[in-house]
């Protein structure tokens, strides 16, 4: 038993080694870039850290990370079975748009209104994502390409419908086009811990629940086992009795449904309408966050927090005379370093384990042999 514990501890250490390695590498690269462009790197890091840990920063980061986390989960569920859902971006926008439209049309008590909006959003996003799933299993179209095209098509669909006279209104004062404002009953609750820091958006609770559900389904259910099996080896999954095609569509649908949650904090906690300033591009952040977190629910959380931290501090860097675009460099380098580091560590771990198993077995064999010889004598 002691042996297993040791192997597990090693695994944990190795698991942590990768991201740490990557972040360090990213810091080094960033420092070099800053130096090369004539800026002082250490002051920049210091600014980032001190600002990032202020209490209002913390609230901001939590709120931002909530959205990123959901996007990360949506992407990760695809990654877990080798599906690259690049289309979370289009999916969450479609979902949030129709959620906003439906929510604006009806006024119900909160306990009905909010779930209604969320469900509509999830269903629409899932349906949009399912198109890519069906194209993949039915016509063999790579989901990567299909979802990229669907992102652009989603943009067209939304901009067609988001017109005054169709499903939206024009505010001629602001030149902004928006769907009917959600009734107050659709506003999600917020929590205020420190008035100066602003409220924490209540949707963080849903995000945490989604993370727990993600973990539970994958690690503890038969369905999750089947899903992971497909991700690890499609052929073995097929032989073990998983209907791989069905699983592809199912997981695209689940991924899409999760994507349907991504726009909810912005809709239910912030804007209460879908307007032409609704945030776009979060799906792509989700990819980065999922990669950082290695598709693990806790890892994704850390990735989302890191990303939000970098976003937050980028403003302050700009404030302090740095070009905030440096954060883009940091983010790019971190992701690239992380994926490389994970691979290196994974391979090292696997090789080490094989070696260890070999050694232990050899030791066991020689013990047996000497025992046998002893018995013979």
């Amino acid at each position: 038993m002691k042996k297993f514990a040791k192997i597990d501890k090693d695994r944990l250490l190795l698991g942590i080694a990768a991201p740490v390695l990557a972040v360090v590498a990213a810091l080094v690269v960033t420092a070099l870039v800053l130096l090369a462009t004539g800026k002082e790197p250490f002051k920049a890091f210091q600014i980032m850290v001190s600002y990032g840990f202020k209490s209002d920063s913390q609230v901001f980061i939590l709120n931002e990370a909530t959205t990123y986390y959901l996007a990360g989960l949506a992407v990760a569920i695809g990654f877990r079975m080798n599906l690259f859902n690049i289309g979370v971006d289009g999916q969450y926008r479609m979902g949030a748009f129709f959620g906003a439209v439906v929510g604006g049309m009806v006024t119900l008590p909160s306990f009905l209104e909010i779930p209604l909006i969320i469900v509509v959003s999830m269903v629409v996003a899932a349906a949009w994502s399912a198109i890519a799933g069906f194209l993949k299993v039915g016509r063999g179209v790579s989901e990567v390409i299909a979802t990229i095209m669907l992102n652009s098509i989603a943009t067209a669909v939304i901009s067609y419908l988001l017109q005054p006279g169709r499903l939206a209104h024009l505010n001629s004062n602001t030149n902004s086009v928006y769907t009917t404002m959600l009734p107050k009953s659709a506003w999600f609750f917020t929590m205020t811990t420190n008035p100066a820091a602003g409220p924490i958006e209540g949707f963080i609770v849903i995000a945490v629940l989604a993370g727990v559900a993600y973990w539970f389904v994958l690690a503890r259910t038969r369905f999750g086992f089947d899903l992971r099996t497909v991700g690890q080896s499609e052929s073995a999954a097929e032989a073990s009795g998983v209907n791989v095609k069905k699983m592809i569509v199912t997981s695209m649908v689940i991924s899409g449904a999760l994507a349907g949650l991504v726009g909810m904090p912005a809709l239910l906690n912030e804007a209460h309408t879908y307007s032409d300033e609704f945030p776009t591009g979060i799906g792509f952040i989700g990819i980065a966050v999922a990669l950082l977190g290695r598709n693990h629910p806790v890892g994704i959380g850390i990735g989302a927090l890191l990303w939000a931290f970098l976003d937050r501090t980028s403003n302050w860097l700009e404030f302090n005379g740095y070009d905030k675009e440096i954060v883009g460099v940091i983010q790019g380098v971190i992701v690239l370093c992380v994926v490389i580091a994970y691979e290196v560590v994974r391979r090292y771990g696997l090789g080490r384990q094989q070696r260890k198993v070999g050694e232990e077995l050899a030791a066991a064999a020689s013990v047996k042999k000497t025992e046998a010889q002893g018995a013979a004598v």
């Binding site: 042996k3 297993f4 192997i7 597990d8 690690a219 503890r220 259910t221 038969r222 369905f223 999750g224 086992f225 089947d226 992971r228 099996t229 690890q232 080896s233 052929s235 073995a236 097929e238 032989a239 073990s240 009795g241 998983v242 209907n243 696997l350 090789g351 080490r352 384990q353 094989q354 070696r355 260890k356 198993v357 070999g358 050694e359 232990e360 077995l361 066991a364």
Partner: protein, 528 residues
């Protein structure tokens, strides 16, 4: 050519340990040893594909060091690998000239040269066909041509006969003798000792990564050679006491399967297959790989949807049931390729124990997994089936092939299947594990298990089966009684040279195919 003190370590294994071999020019030198003994590794070292950790190689007295196969090729060494090294989507010509374009370019001159060599050795290779359109024997010839094209004087053939039927083996040996006559050196690897004795001039035996001796093919018998290889007496798969009942467990009728090939053209891969396996019966299927055995297994497993036909398991029509349900209903499956179909290599052993039986006890309760119970049961399997591992949390990839296979067998047997589909159950498994697996199959059969056995090892097939069928181009073309049939006779049917019921003819070499019965399997069952 002299290899001295070669040592090669891989994570977890010492593949070669202080090996010494001397090969003289112009002879056929055979290298024998059981699976995993380190033969291929040694040859890859000689061919520059692997670097030895220790040791030296000398050619004609001159010490050499190869950093890649290119260096070896320059030295006149060529190798035909155990697994085909061909690009399917390239033409034969492209496959042959690849890497040696300097010799004759990649155009007309190369084509002429290929035709010339092909004619000289009677290989019959067509340069402009895509490799994917070739059968195994043709591919083998392309491999040999590749080596000859490079002007190799030393030819390494790593288990070239594994996928060939006896007649094709004879043709190959004729080619080898011709090469030898031309003054070429051939290093020949095989487990099939009869073949080795018939073609080799010298034999080196490797056991557990080291040379244990050399033998003279003229004076040694196969039995002695085998014992040298294994270090003890050879186990045998013989199983003669019959446990066959007359209760059918699996019945397949009129099974037809078509599948689109690369061009999208539908081809018939299974044609009108009919067979019955009774409780307690082992039905062996012989056939050259690629004649539909894999598809038959997949159709029975539900991984492919047949176009026509009825499959009945224990009286239940399962023709339309999904794979998972079939497994729950009692089909156990030892797949042909354990890495592709049997394991999750990067998952721990206990998760591999769940694989394929996730809906069954003790792996899950309702929709939820029961990891604790699964782990407990994995411990049990590890102990009962002698899986050598330090624990159940190591990944499947870190186990050796034999131990991986024992885990799979243990897993499948733990669910008390009614029907076991065993495709090459002992392929790539060492002798000890092989015997264990055979024992387990026999034991289960005694308790009424029906087994569909597919194997390329004809001795295994003959020894274990109660009844034999031969598959050729998607059809069951012949049947035979394992008690009397010889591997040669079976081999002849596998090439399609004979069909119907195969009777053993005592006249040496003569194989007559005389069909006698219409329901061959019943007949065979009754005979036992």
């Amino acid at each position: 050519m002299e290899l001295k003190g070669i040592t090669k370590r891989f994570p977890g294994v010492v593949a070669n340990h202080d090996i010494d071999i001397t090969v003289r020019r112009g002879i056929v030198h055979a290298l024998v040893g059981e699976n995993g003994a380190g033969k291929s590794t040694l040859m890859k070292i000689l061919y520059g594909m692997q670097k030895p950790d220790e040791g030296t190689i000398a050619i004609d007295g001159e010490q050499v060091s190869f950093s890649n196969p290119g260096d070896a090729i320059v030295r006149g060494i060529g190798m035909v690998h155990q697994h085909f090294m061909l690009a399917d989507n390239l033409t034969v010509l492209e496959n042959v000239v690849l890497g040696s374009e300097k010799l004759h370019g990649i155009g007309a001159k190369a084509r002429a040269r290929i035709t010339e060599i092909s004619d000289a050795y009677g290989l019959g290779v067509r340069p402009d066909v895509l490799v994917e359109d070739l059968g195994v024997a043709d591919r083998q010839r392309v491999e040999i041509l590749k080596v000859l094209y490079r002007g190799a004087r030393t030819l390494i053939l790593d288990e070239p006969t594994a996928v060939l039927v006896p007649q094709e083996v004879d043709a190959l040996f004729d080619n080898l003798r011709e090469l030898k006559a031309e003054g070429l050196t051939v290093i020949f690897i095989s487990h099939k000792l009869g073949e080795v004795l018939s073609v080799a001039d010298e034999i080196t035996v490797i056991r557990r990564g080291t040379t244990v001796g050399t033998a003279d093919p003229k004076s040694i018998t196969t039995k002695q050679l085998a014992e040298l290889m294994v270090g003890s007496e050879l186990p045998s798969p013989e199983t003669r006491e019959s446990t066959v009942t007359d209760v059918p467990m699996l019945q397949v009728e009129g099974l037809r399967l078509t599948a689109p090939d690369q061009d999208g053209v539908e081809r018939t891969v299974l044609d009108d297959i009919a067979l019955t396996i009774h409780k307690g019966e082992v039905l062996g299927i012989a056939g050259v790989e690629g004649n539909g055995q894999a598809e038959l297994v997949e159709a029975i497993m539900g991984m492919r949807a047949p176009d026509a036909g009825v499959i009945t398991l224990d009286g239940q029509d399962i023709s339309r049931t999904p794979t998972r349900k079939r497994r729950e209903d009692g089909i156990g499956y030892i797949p042909e390729d354990r890495h592709r179909h049997g394991l999750l290599l990067e998952a721990p052993l206990w998760e591999n124990r769940i694989l394929g039986h996730v809906t069954e006890q003790p792996n899950s309760k309702g929709a939820l997994l029961d990891p604790a119970a699964a782990r407990r049961d994995t411990e049990r399997i590890v102990a009962e089936y002698d899986v050598r591992t330090p624990g159940i949390d190591v990944t499947a990839a870190s186990l050796s092939g034999g131990n991986q296979q024992k885990l799979i067998v243990g897993r499948e047997m733990s669910h008390h299947p009614k029907l076991l589909i065993a495709a090459h159950p002992t392929r790539g498994v060492d002798v000890g594990a092989q015997a264990q697996i055979w024992d387990q199959i026999r034991a289960a059969r005694r308790e009424g298990l029906a087994v569909l056995l597919i194997s390329a090892d004809l001795d295994e097939l003959i020894g274990l089966s109660d009844c034999l069928r031969v598959m050729f181009r998607g059809r069951l073309v012949a049947d035979a009684d394992p008690a009397t049939i010889t591997p040669e006779e079976l081999g002849s049917a596998m090439t399609g040279a004979s069909s119907g019921h195969l009777e053993h003819a005592s006249a040496a070499g003569a194989v007559t195919g005389t069909a006698v019965s219409d329901t061959a399997s019943e007949k065979a069952g009754g005979e036992d």
